[in-house]
Amino acid sequence: MNKKYNRPESLRDSDTHYCPGCGHGIIHHLVARAVDELKIRQKVIGVAPVGCAVVAYDYWNFDVCEASHGRALAVATGIKRCRPKNIVFTYQGDGDLASIGAAETLHAANRGENVTCIFINNACYGMTGGQMAPTTIIGQKTATTPSGRNPFAGDGWPLKLSEILSTLKGVCFAVRTSVSNPRQVHQAYDYIKKAFCSQIDKKGFSLVEVLSPCPTIWQKTPVEAMQWIETEMIKEFPLGVIKE
């Protein structure tokens, strides 16, 4: 009997604190798997965000650094500049990356820091109980937009940061993908690997945006949440390679 697909070495054998059906778990797995596959577990350094994935370091089995809310890419800059031979990536939520951290994100990308950014777009602030994120779609109800996000009431428009970043010369690879079905999960996995490879090849800043379900905040079952990504979110956030 050949064991074939099992828990990657880079994923600790620990239980997560995530809600049932949460996309973070899926993406943690993909990152760990990609690290294993590329045989970089011993030189990868992750930067964990402040958000639901704050304790990602309890799940991954490699070196991880905390970053204050929104500043993961500044922290990653410090690490990578000091240890250019290590593979450095950040894992950040939409609030972390695109709201409070917008300046750090924009400038790290513009400097072309040779790091990889995994950007979890779940259209909300998960950890703090479901407030509006920059990526919340129009009409979506959240704790801070009780009657739905309304750009005409000053709530702002869904922010497509990946498109924005891809206009920068420092960015070598930018893609938007999702984990809304097994095939997509596999594709997301490929993109994450590709992003790591582009870092290994010293090409500059690589970005993988992943549309990710948050059944709790969306008040949906895990399956409904996946479907909501495919019917609603993708309309606002089309999938595909944005820059390569």
Partner: protein, 345 residues
């Protein structure tokens, strides 16, 4: 050489490998100095997009195990408070230089010592302290910059160097012949290097599980106590037994020294007590010095901040205060006048 440059040279000499900064007067000469020397091989200079980015880059560089520094002036240091609190919580060594100016708000760019509270009372959130070193000359600025790295590494803590605009901008010669001692360069086993032949390292300040943060903070508390015990530094100028002991630090201590000289000429026995570490406050030495003094005068470029530490150290003494705010600087003449009036009674 200016104080700003001397601190840059000190950092370079101490083996600083990563510097990130954002321009602000009156510390621009320091950033400019780093912009040239930290572009040499093996070193990194980053002009960060903001003070927030700078302190967090330093967080990363420190987590990676390297000696690292950032610098700014008052408003920029306020912006770094969250980051400093994180560094303290995650026990990361780093050096932060504040060449302070007049506040609050945009204030002005004159010399001021009104960031004392912020520096010594953890301007950021949470139960923590940072060692604070305060030079009074360009040469000491150089030496304390080096010391800051050593202390930071030894205790795994961020260390502040609080220099005012006068110290930062004034130029005086420094003696570079004596080779400075660089200590505490042990390997940093906790640092992030990639989990090769060892379990993963994690750098963090987050302890959600009930009781964990308490445990962690008590550990930190032990460290603060140890630092309090071992790292108090101060110097004394003038006679031991005095009519009046002047307490001042940084550039203001320079001016006070002149006042002490003038007073001696005029037959008044005066002394100067100068804290070099503002946290931990050198209260033992101060107590001793004060026990031989009839009057105590605290002189600051502020409305009275260090004043409070003196009062805490000397609860049974009457403490007199002479201060100026918003870039005003108590001159040696004013000090002389103040002391004369005081000792007359």
């Amino acid at each position: 050489m200016s104080g700003n440059e001397a601190m840059g040279l000190g950092a370079f000499t101490a083996g600083c490998r990563f510097y990130a900064g954002y321009p602000i007067t009156p510390q621009n000469e320091l950033t400019a100095y780093m912009a040239s020397c930290m572009r040499l091989p093996g070193r990194t200079f980053v002009q960060a997009e903001s003070e927030l980015a700078a302190i967090n880059m330093v967080f990363g560089a420190s987590a990676a195990g390297f000696r690292t520094m950032t610098s700014s002036s008052s408003p920029g240091i306020s912006l770094k408070q969250e980051g400093i609190s994180y560094l303290a919580g995650a026990q990361l060594p780093a050096v932060i230089i504040n060449v302070s100016r007049g506040g609050p708000g945009l204030g002005n760019i004159a010399s001021s010592q009104s960031d004392y509270f912020q520096s010594t009372r953890g301007g950021g959130h949470g139960d923590y302290f940072t060692p604070v070193l305060s030079p009074w000359s360009v040469e000491e600025a150089f030496n304390l910059a080096i010391l800051a790295f050593d202390v930071a590494d030894f205790y795994r803590t961020p260390v502040l160097v609080l220099a005012d605009a006068i110290i930062g901008q004034m130029m005086e010669p420094i003696n570079l012949n004596r080779k400075p001692l660089i200590r505490n360069r042990k390997p940093k086993r906790w640092s992030l290097t990639g989990a090769k032949n060892r379990p993963p390292n994690i750098v963090k300040s987050f302890f959600l599980q009930e009781g964990l943060l308490e445990e962690h903070n008590l550990l930190l508390e032990k460290k603060w106590q140890k630092i309090k015990l071992r790292e108090q530094r101060s110097s004394i100028y003038g006679k031991k037994k005095v009519d009046c002991l002047i307490v001042a630090y940084g550039s203001q201590a320079r001016i006070a020294r002149q006042a002490v000289d003038v007073l001696s000429c005029q037959g008044i026995k005066a002394g100067l007590f100068r804290p070099i570490t503002l946290w931990p406050y050198p209260d033992k030495a101060l107590k001793k010095a004060a026990s031989l003094a009839r009057k105590i005068v605290v002189v600051e470029q502020s409305l009275g901040q260090m004043d409070e530490d003196v009062r805490l150290a000397l609860p049974n003494k009457e403490i007199n205060f002479l201060g100026k705010t918003g870039g005003g600087i108590p001159s040696s003449l004013e000090i002389v006048k103040f002391v004369k009036k005081l000792t007359k009674n």
